[in-house]
């Protein structure tokens, strides 16, 4: 069959091709990443020195809120769905995703959802300013009018995510090539299936939370209003029942990416494949019973605090297994350090540092000191930036030849890596110290004793922001004038996408399913 290509704007509007949709997801998430990043620059500029220099406190709150929402829902999650779209059909030997029209729809919801959300910046009363965790009653009774746009936007993102998740599950369970048993699937596919189940379980809970907000705001209910018999803490329970699994939704696919890349560049099979799968699944299961570790200070009964503390610490066990397996995969391998490998190794190291601070935060009596300080900000940025973002970056470098048939410039890639590596640590490591010194999060101004750490973090953040533009430059340069990629550019790469397909992969792949031995 000819490689039929629709052209022009209609190709993108009406496409049902998983590769086109994957590309749109990835570009969309990158645009959101730049917008969310620009907001981070505003935050870091204001925090460069004590005093109110650039923005007033309410706008500052809008910036922290929108930065979080855009990064979580606009940058990280869609980038993972983009990778899933591109890779899952190729990795399991399927011709496309199982539900291609739904695939199109789940992408095209997003631009509208984020237009709604971003439009709130220009509204009277300003954009949502209650933090990305939108605790009631600050977000209900006291929320600005734009809160309703936020609610609708979250609903739309939720629908998009749920559809994406359904698509992944249906594809993986129905469209694997003959011989591709579940325990032969690449780890990226496994981590994504587990992520998809998490999404289906928790996105409706988020939808419930924002719907309750909406009725509290406009239809006279009092779910979260104590004066009417409601309970503001219930909001937090509902939110974090979504919110904690959400953390793993953002990180699990990156685990999959790192597993594949480290094995490829160690030229060795992934160590402990099945224990990797089981560890991922147990992390996912545990993630449902630890949510209230975000709430140790709300005045839970002590039995609750003990339960959530112990359950949270347990997560360190399967997470540890993953880290050990990655090190064991490298052990006695024959490693080379191309850009994807560098980002993956940095991912393992820095994510582990985020894990260490995670164990510290899990210990309730000490968490009373860490909670809602910059220590927490440092913790989750260590998990999310070198975790989710480095994971995606590594994936882009690794699979770019498969996607475009072009190689990036290795030297520029390495510069990008070291630049990011230094900047990310310069940005987020000092935040541990400002937190320990007692700086609360989400404040636009602070005492002199926090000044040095904040100045370092701001300098790091500006460098980190610039490095993303450099990344964009490297990718565009590769696409426009990169060296032509060989069919197998990475010596140690394995999997159907490398063994059974050329670079670039044709527009339609696997019209007849490949045989997997």
């Amino acid at each position: 069959m000819a490689d039929h290509h629709p052209t022009g704007i209609k190709r993108w509007l009406f496409t049902t091709n998983h590769k086109d949709i994957g590309s749109m997801y990835l570009w969309f998430s990158f645009i959101m990443f730049l917008i969310g990043g620009a907001m981070a620059m505003v935050i870091r500029a204001e925090l460069y020195q004590p005093g109110l220099q650039f923005v007033e406190p309410n706008f500052f709150n809008s910036m922290t809120t929108m930065h979080g929402l855009i990064m979580v829902f606009g940058a990280v999650m869609p980038s993972m769905v983009g990778l899933a779209n591109w890779l899952i059909p190729m990795q399991i030997g399927a011709p496309d995703m199982a539900l291609p029209r739904m695939n199109n729809w789940s992408f095209w919801i997003l631009p509208f959802a984020f237009t709604l959300l971003l439009s709130s910046l220009f509204m009277d009363g300003g954009a949502p300013n209650f933090g990305w965790t939108f605790y009631a009653p600050l977000s209900t009774t006291y929320g600005p009018p734009s809160t309703d746009f936020f609610i609708l936007g979250v609903h739309m993102m939720g629908i998009s995510s749920i559809m994406g998740a359904i698509n992944v599950i249906v594809t993986v369970f129905n469209m694997r090539a003959p011989g591709m048993t579940l325990m032969k699937m690449p780890l990226f596919v496994w981590t994504w299936v587990i992520t998809a189940f998490l999404l289906i379980m928790v996105m409706p809970v988020l939808a419930g939370a924002v719907t309750m907000m909406l009725t509290d705001r406009h239809f006279g209910t009092d779910f979260f209003n104590a004066a009417g018999g409601g309970d503001p803490v219930m909001f937090q329970h509902i939110f974090w029942f979504f919110g904690h699994p959400e953390v793993y939704i953002m990180i699990l696919p990156a685990f999959g990416v790192a597993s594949e890349i480290i094995a490829a560049f160690a030229r060795k099979k992934l160590f402990g494949y099945s224990s990797m799968v089981y560890a991922t699944a147990s992390i996912a299961l545990l993630s449902f019973i630890v949510w209230a570790h975000h709430m140790f200070t709300v005045g839970m009964p002590i039995a609750g605090e003990l339960f959530f503390m112990i359950a949270t610490m347990l997560i360190a066990v399967p997470t540890g297994v993953k880290v050990f397996n990655w090190v064991a995969t490298m052990w006695q391998g024959s490693m080379t350090f191309e850009t994807p490998m560098l980002f993956s190794i940095a991912f393992v190291i820095l994510f582990t540092i985020g894990g260490f601070s995670g164990v510290m935060l899990a210990m309730a009596p000490v968490d009373f000191q860490y909670h809602d300080t910059y220590f927490v900000v440092a913790h989750f940025h260590y998990v999310l930036f070198p975790g989710a973002i480095f994971g995606t970056t590594a994936a882009v470098y690794y699979w770019l030849p498969k996607w475009t048939g072009k190689m990036y410039n290795e030297k520029l890639g390495k510069i990008h890596f070291w630049w990011s590596m230094i900047a990310v640590n310069l940005t987020f490591f000092p935040m541990h110290f400002s937190g320990l010194a007692g700086m609360p999060r989400r404040i636009p101004d602070y005492n002199m004793m926090f000044a040095a750490f904040n100045q370092l973090a701001s300098i790091g953040a500006f460098a980190l922001g610039l490095s993303q533009l450099f990344f964009l430059f490297i990718i565009i340069k590769a696409i426009r004038s990169g060296k032509k990629a060989e069919d197998k550019p990475w010596e140690g790469a394995t999997g159907l996408e490398w063994d059974a397909l050329p670079c670039p992969a044709p527009y339609h792949t696997f019209d007849t399913p490949p045989q997997v031995k």
Partner: protein, 386 residues
């Protein structure tokens, strides 16, 4: 062999670098141990985890960097072919498990201790509201609001003020005074949104939640002033809502309570006198401006322009200019407006202050209604309201 020597050298360098980093951290970048027994135990636990985590980091990253050097293609051209070992996997599932048990036991003990607020010597109700704390001594007839010392207006916060004041953003007009070596129980709640009451050096952080009362406690062995901040995002001026606790010897505390009681009696008398007499517009305007800038300008702005629609403009507003809506105006200031950020000032200000601020709002910034609200009007309003 040269490789091994180089490796060992670089590993030692790495380890000593990490260790020196940690030592440095404990010197001046670390959590403060604080002054109470619980805060110091929390600090010890914190240090224990830091060291355990550092140990794990040295082992795991050490192996990893060894591998990165020794198992690179140039040093190890033929990769091994093994990819599984049940024995090893069981071992490294078990070891973290044991480490975690070792960490959890002291944490459980400390947690139980920290949550035991029974048998207090005195109890203080702590109420957060946008953006101040209200302290009420339940065993004495003393209560007051504790505001950031500098009024919450944007112009008041800049680099120069930050550098010239060691306690920038950590100073209040009235500190919470507690006696040393007494078990002080705090009943923490809020009026509007969720706040969180934190004093790092006491190791106490508790969310202040509207409609619910949380308990926590402290016992401070050493006199001194301990500073903290609100740690739950609570709106525009969240970063400007400090907590200051001054611990004093019992005798000094008793004297302070007695003085507070005298002040209250005197203030009640002065307020009654002030309310009884009739004020002229100028005097109301002077006092009104003072009260307005301290209490209202944070949201409604010094020039009355507000930040609509959250904080409506008072300048030119119907309620503040139309004579027939004057009662409504008084009502909003005295009782607040439910469903909005507008707090009830009826019990925070004296009748004279209320009268003055309302008069000011009706005559400043070109509102010029000429309306004069007297303290007696406020009393009448409150009486009719009951």
């Amino acid at each position: 062999m040269a490789i091994r020597r180089k490796l060992i050298a670089s590993l030692t360098a790495l380890v000593s670098f990490v260790l020196s980093g940690v030592v440095q951290a404990t010197a001046d970048l670390n959590m403060r141990p604080g002054v109470t027994e619980t805060s110091q135990e929390a600090y010890d636990l914190h240090m224990m985890v830091v060291w355990v985590m550092t140990g794990i980091a040295v082992v795991v990253f050490g192996l990893m960097f060894y591998s990165i050097i020794a198992h690179r293609k140039s040093n190890n051209p033929k990769p091994a072919t093994w990819s599984h070992s049940t024995k090893v996997e069981i071992v490294w599932t078990a070891i973290p498990f044991i480490i975690l048990i070792f960490l959890t036991i002291p944490a459980i003990k400390l947690l139980i201790k920290m949550e035991d607020a029974s048998d207090p010597d005195i109890s203080i109700q702590v109420t957060g509201s946008q953006w101040k704390w209200h302290y009420k001594y339940l065993d004495h007839n003393v209560e007051f609001y504790s505001n950031l010392k500098t009024p919450q207006q944007e112009a008041n916060f800049d680099l120069e003020k930050a550098t010239s004041n060691a306690n920038y953003l950590l100073e209040v007009d009235k500190e919470l005074v507690i006696p040393v070596n007494k078990k002080v129980r705090f009943l923490v709640t809020a009026d509007d949104v969720i706040h969180s009451w934190w004093v790092p050096e006491l190791g106490v952080k508790k969310d202040a939640i509207p409609g619910f009362i949380n308990e926590t406690w402290t016992s401070v062995p050493k006199p001194g002033t301990y500073r903290g901040q609100c740690t739950e995002l609570c709106g525009k001026w969240h970063g400007f809502m400090p907590v200051v606790v001054r611990a004093v010897p019992q005798a000094e505390f008793d004297a302070w309570i007695a003085q507070k009681n005298d002040e209250r009696v005197a203030a009640e008398k002065a307020a009654a006198e002030a309310a009884a007499k009739s004020w002229d517009l100028d005097k109301l305007m002077t006092l009104g401006e003072e009260v307005y800038n301290a209490k209202c300008a944070a949201c409604h702005k010094v020039d009355g322009s507000g930040t609509p629609p959250l904080f409506p403009a008072l300048k030119g507003s119907e309620i503040a200019t139309k004579a027939e809506r004057m009662d409504e105006h008084i009502g909003i200031v005295v009782n607040g407006k439910t469903g909005t950020a507008m707090a009830a000032f009826g019990s925070q200000l004296t009748d004279a202050e209320l009268a003055a601020v309302i008069t000011y709002e009706r005559n400043a910034w070109g509102n010029e209604t000429g309306d004069v609200v007297q303290p007696a009007d406020i009393q009448a309003f409150k009486a009719g309201n009951q």
